[in-house]
């Protein structure tokens, strides 16, 4: 057997391995024998690090010496909702420095929820001669100056995607830093930028890049400029408009409509800030080709939404505000038979009363009409167990179900019972469910259902739910594939956590905030589990100043082979073997 494994020259094995891209498969290959391990690590080109603190840059570089593409994730998901204090961490700087030295041929950097500075961006732009792809998803810490450095120095740049990052807008002139002979842009997403970019520079850039297929503009790009941009890039596949409002003028309209008609490849539309309904018909000619439509910033009413969406028979992904109403979702269910993903966002999340007639009924209609529906994110104000059971039975093929009933602790509005049974039906019927977010009035029973049925569940988000540690115990002991668990405002304490300590090493991370976990339990965990970082985040000051049995504010536990991190701010405490000894 061993002889067979070595009978192929390395180059042949490497060639064979090149057909295997999936990380899990490559990991499996590397365990076959030493020779395969060696060949595989030299030929691994793409690395994904789901938690930047789970491993150090040096460890990655030592194992994989010739990486061309890296993806890193930093802060926990709840950072999106301001639950992680500023300065917590997620700095990409050490990674960039290390890679600048080790990976001169690095082509792609993809970051999510990380802090990246202008200096980091400049270092990237100068260190990697063949740099092609920069995706900064929900990142922060940089300004348009950093973007200028990327534009000026990355001659082979293909993709610059700033999706939902917080960028300090110093000037719109950064776009001018793309050299006149730079023509390789394929994808540009600047939708999150607040400032006006230099429009003439943008026009010229778009005009000279024949391979441009994705262009997501920011709100500051006025509608009357859009037609010209489209005429320069009729090959666009994905477009995000700027503000979609202007005085209604027939000449502007027909110009725009003509420009859209010229885009025969357009499959995805987004943007639509400040929509003036009168201009929507300009996109009608291309609606039948659309597979993705993001109207989540379009503050238009249901009738206009229905007219638009009703023409998109090939729609697979729809993001929309609750202005669509139940009636609009009925229309979607009737027209969009290919729908795979629906996200309905709240137009007035803080209002005390519902402002639009959007209820559980809309989601039920979609579940009935859209047989390919897999992924749902739905904000609403009322729900019933009956509706959830109907949805579950209709769509056992669902893989992502995130329901947000806006008022915490809202029961089934028909029976006034908890929604345990409804969510139980979801996990029981949807056997391939990977992601679930709970809301509404929920007892420990829902967690028992989840632990029993949700065997493929990888990510669970819980808020204002449960009654006791038993709930948490059900999840930790039952969900075999669980990787990420995030909990806020639930009466879960030490017992379930300590009883399932070993489980935590099989997961990427656990977040618990405003629960009942004590500092004593955290210390115990930190002491006994060297391969976990147990981070206590508390802005009230050191946990030592309070009794050990008092609950901590926020807890973030993640597995790591890199030990405690060195960049913790003053409000984060970890407990490792050393400090535990000192404290006792």
């Amino acid at each position: 057997m061993q002889r067979m494994a070595c009978s192929f020259p390395d180059e042949v094995l490497e060639h064979v391995f090149s057909f295997v891209q999936c990380d899990n498969d490559r990991n499996a290959i590397s365990t076959v024998c030493k020779s395969w391990y060696k060949i595989e690590r030299w030929s691994r080109r793409r690395v994904f690090v789901g938690n930047c603190y789970a491993i150090s840059p040096d460890m990655v570089i030592r194992r994989f010496p010739d990486v061309r593409s890296i993806e890193l994730k930093g802060k926990p998901h709840f950072a999106d909702f301001n639950l992680v204090p500023d300065g917590w961490g997620g700095y990409v700087a050490p990674w960039i420095s290390a890679m600048a030295a080790a990976y001169p041929w690095l082509e792609e950097i993809r970051l999510k929820r990380m802090v990246i500075t202008d200096e980091n961006l400049e270092l990237i732009s100068k260190s990697f001669k063949n740099f092609k792809v920069l995706v900064l998803s929900s990142c922060e810490g940089f300004s348009t100056d950093g973007l200028a450095a990327i534009a000026a120095n990355c001659r082979n740049l293909r993709e610059l995607d700033l999706r939902e990052s917080e960028v300090e807008d110093l000037s719109g002139h950064w776009l001018k830093h793309f050299p006149d002979d730079y023509t390789s842009l394929v994808s540009l997403n600047i939708a999150c930028l607040g400032c006006e970019v230099s429009f003439s520079a943008l026009e010229r850039l778009v005009g000279r890049c024949p391979n441009l297929r994705t262009l997501r503009l920011n709100r500051a790009v006025p509608l009357d400029k859009l037609a010209n941009l489209l005429r320069r890039a009729p090959q666009l596949v994905e477009l995000g408009t700027g503000a979609y409002s202007s005085e209604l003028r027939p000449d502007v309209f027909s110009n725009l409509s003509g420009a859209f008609s010229g885009c025969k490849e357009l499959k995805s539309l987004s943007g639509f800030w400040d929509v003036v309904p009168g201009y929507l018909p300009a996109v009608y000619p291309i609606c039948c080709r659309l597979t993705t439509l993001n109207l989540s910033y379009a503050t238009i009413q249901s009738p206009d939404l229905i007219k638009l969406v009703g023409q998109c028979q090939n729609l697979q992904r729809l993001w929309v505000l609750d202005y669509i109403e139940d009636a609009g979702l009925d229309a979607v269910a009737a027209s969009c038979k290919d729908l795979r993903e629906l996200r309905v966002f709240p137009s007035d999340p803080y209002g005390p009363e519902p402002n639009v007639p959007l209820t559980e009924q809309g989601l039920v209609s979609i579940s009935e009409g859209c047989s390919k529906l897999q992924s749902v994110l739905y904000f609403c104000r009322q729900m019933s167990n009956a509706a959830l059971m109907t949805i579950a039975r209709n769509r056992p093929n669902m893989t992502r179900f995130r329901l947000c009933i806006i008022e915490p602790g809202t029961p089934d509005y028909l029976t006034l019972q908890p929604l345990d049974v409804g969510f139980g039906a979801i996990v029981e019927h949807c056997k391939d469910l990977q992601r679930l977010s709970l809301s509404g009035l929920l007892t420990d029973l829902v967690f028992e259902y989840i632990g029993t049925y949700a065997k493929k569940l990888e990510m669970l988000s819980v808020a204002f739910a449960g009654e006791s540690d038993l709930g948490l115990h059900h999840v930790l002991s039952g969900c075999e594939k669980l990787r990420k668990l995030e909990i806020r405002d639930c009466p879960f304490g030490d017992k379930a956590l300590l009883a399932n300590a070993a489980k935590l090493e099989t997961m990427r991370s656990l977040w618990m905030s405003s629960c009942s976990v004590t500092f004593g339990a955290c210390k115990l965990l930190g002491q006994k589990m060297p391969r976990l970082n147990v981070e206590v985040i508390d802005e009230r000051g050191t946990p030592d100043s309070r009794p050990e049995s008092c609950p901590i504010d926020k807890l973030y536990i993640y597995r790591t082979v890199a030990g405690s991190r060195f960049d913790m701010p003053g409000f984060v405490w970890t407990i490792d073997e050393d400090s535990a000894m000192r404290l006792s």
């Binding site: 909702f81 009363e353 602790g409 006034l416 009035l441 006791s468 540690d469 304490g493």
Partner: protein
């Protein structure tokens, strides 16, 4: 993974320690499951719930929530009676709930920034109209903003004409704005929300100039002031 793991795993001595104390059983709701010494944690938790306004008695639904979270007196009755009733006031804002990202929140808020010019002042300012709820708030803010340009010896916002007065210089400023159609109007005529939607920029005009150029049609309070074509105000 079941809590009673094999002895090789590092977590096992943790679990065995805890397991002696714990009795994780399926019990009926309301049964006390906390062992002694947990009273502090319960109290602490309730305290924090209060911080989050969850224990606030101002709305019955939040009271019930507080109860659920503390695990006390749990009974389906108290659940049913309190929960689900919409509160009259704007719902208490809990940090990070509902889970809507800031980018999205800000985009929906509108963030209506308009330029404000004051005759005689060298710089323009920008204000976000969305953060004000009424004309009074806006004008008060404008006063504060442009205070540094003038010596202040008391000023007031009048009732009728909504004039901002700086008695020391004996100058009156009339707040005007340019609307969507490009016309210059007197601030205060239309309902606040309508003003929010139509205002493109603001100019605090010296009264002396205004009198000559703005031509009232009807009662000064309710009319719209329009600029005569030949006296066009310079738009900055």
């Amino acid at each position: 993974m079941p809590p009673d793991t094999t002895s090789e795993s590092p977590g096992s001595d943790v679990t065995s320690t805890v397991f002696k104390d714990t009795e994780l059983t399926l019990g009926l709701p309301g049964e006390a499951r906390f062992s002694g010494g947990k009273t502090c944690s319960k109290r602490g938790f309730i305290e924090r719930s209060m911080d989050l306004n969850l224990g606030d008695s101002s709305s019955s639904s939040s009271q019930t929530r507080g109860k659920i979270l503390a695990g006390q007196d749990f009974s389906s009755e108290s659940l049913v009676s309190g929960a689900g009733k919409p509160s009259a006031a704007k719902r208490q804002e809990v940090v990070g709930w509902p889970p809507v990202r800031s980018l999205r929140k800000r985009a929906l808020e509108g963030c209506k920034y308009v330029k404000v010019a004051v005759d005689g002042a060298p710089y323009l300012r920008k204000v976000d109209l969305e953060i004000y709820n009424s004309y009074q708030e806006l004008l008060r803010a404008l006063e504060q903003m442009f205070m540094t340009c003038f010596a202040i010896r008391g000023n007031y916002v009048g009732e009728g004409g909504r004039k901002v007065m700086y008695p020391m210089k004996e100058m009156e400023y009339v707040p005007t704005y340019e609307d969507k159609d490009g016309d210059w109007m007197l601030v205060g005529d239309v309902p606040w929300k309508m003003f929010l939607e139509s205002c493109k920029r603001i100019r605090l005009m010296k009264s002396s100039e205004a009198v000559g150029t703005l031509a009232p049609r009807t009662h000064p309070r309710s009319c719209t002031y329009e600029v005569a074509a030949d006296q066009q105000l310079k738009a900055r």
